[in-house]
Symmetry: C2
Subunit: 280 residues, 2 copies
Amino acid sequence: MADSETPRVAFQGERGAYSEMAARRFFGDRIALCPCESFDLVFKRVESGRVDSGVIPIENSLAGSIHQNYDLLLKHRLHIVGELNVRVVHNLIANPGATLASIRTIFSHPQALMQCQNTTAKLRKVKIEPAYDTAGSVKRIKEERLLDAAAIASDLAAKIYGMKILKRQVQDNPENFTRFLVLKKKTASPAHANKTSIVFSIKNVPGALFRSLSVFALRDIDLYKIESRPLHGKPWEYFFYVDFAGSLNDRNSRNAVAQLREIASFMKILGSYPRDATRR
Amino acid sequence: MADSETPRVAFQGERGAYSEMAARRFFGDRIALCPCESFDLVFKRVESGRVDSGVIPIENSLAGSIHQNYDLLLKHRLHIVGELNVRVVHNLIANPGATLASIRTIFSHPQALMQCQNTTAKLRKVKIEPAYDTAGSVKRIKEERLLDAAAIASDLAAKIYGMKILKRQVQDNPENFTRFLVLKKKTASPAHANKTSIVFSIKNVPGALFRSLSVFALRDIDLYKIESRPLHGKPWEYFFYVDFAGSLNDRNSRNAVAQLREIASFMKILGSYPRDATRR
């Protein structure tokens, strides 16, 4: 299937993971998929050039930031070239021969299990078993031909493994979105970029964070998000990750970032990219 | 042991947990301990009056914030009355009959296992097994009399369960601290309070976060930390948790908070308490 034109895309998880759904939505269905065991491996595959792009979740609207990926953005030299919001619709999936009444165990990622507690609590005599990932749980109950087990995962996972959806939309909160980032090695910002992500640390003096944020406020630049992560070796000091409105193709954003460089003790640009303002 | 004078203190984990070390350092050794299965239960035990205080970890200097506890501070009506920094010293613990050469499995909390990778990687043919908590792993290898297994936990856990420390200080990074909070139902701020924690949300308009932080900057009030958590039902909006220098016993801090109330769409005071600036 893959020729030199086909984008090669790495993501964490088994085939059918929510990250694969995000990759397909961004690149279309003509892609060469590279499922990886860990987020770290996704970054490494892109960095080494084995794949063209990586797709990683960065934030869920209920569970919050995926902090490991914030740390990896700092550690690796990749650029954010796109983002997309994907509505998370969990399904209860089983082997074709299974029925809702036959289920005794439900496997899934702990996050997914937590987001479906209302549904699973109604099923009597069912044991909840945390697993390594959502799609991987579907794969497991298929391979082990378990008729008394179900998995919580995407409908894409059910389709890929030829499994039956026992119950659709089993998540408690319908306003469940995950925001994904698309990463590449190349540095040029996309032409329609209107959002920029940076990470910086500040000198440990009073008012330093306020002065850092003033470089945006003084230029009427809106902030979408601020996230802090620990600075290793300096207990209770932080890296700040800021997403702001604007692209480094614009003079106004470049000026803000230049002023921030004067204030910050460290700064790294993670990328300018088109914002996904939709909720799909 | 427990009489009406003895403080009753709840914490998450088995006896010997790092939270128990924090509780003993704060209250002394004459306390009635109430080990709880979950953080949620710690909050509930304090709220219901079954115990006088709860001790919870809020942040580790390497792994970052314990986000679940930020969420629980918002959900429950408790007050922070103290904090303390505890140096985390992990030890490799086994049954008295075991030797380093006999170990084939190491159990501990995933966080502790991650913080001791340099040591565990040097042990050949050893399987790493994530477990529910650090002290609980010690309890388990004692109860199951496993001679080929070890656990990573505090020296307090080794002492409590009468186990042997095979190797002390097995953590990779010595600058490993956990900050704990002490929670009570009562509202009066301690007399020597010099740090305050609040949580607020802001209207979704440009510059709102900057304006919120200006109430502190304009009064020369230093910020120790800012943490954001998702606002459920409003994807990509946030609660901001801010720790600042000062007590609500002081007029300057009260003025800052009053001005923030004008700007914020929601605000809750979590407590004023004496800051622990030591690293023990």
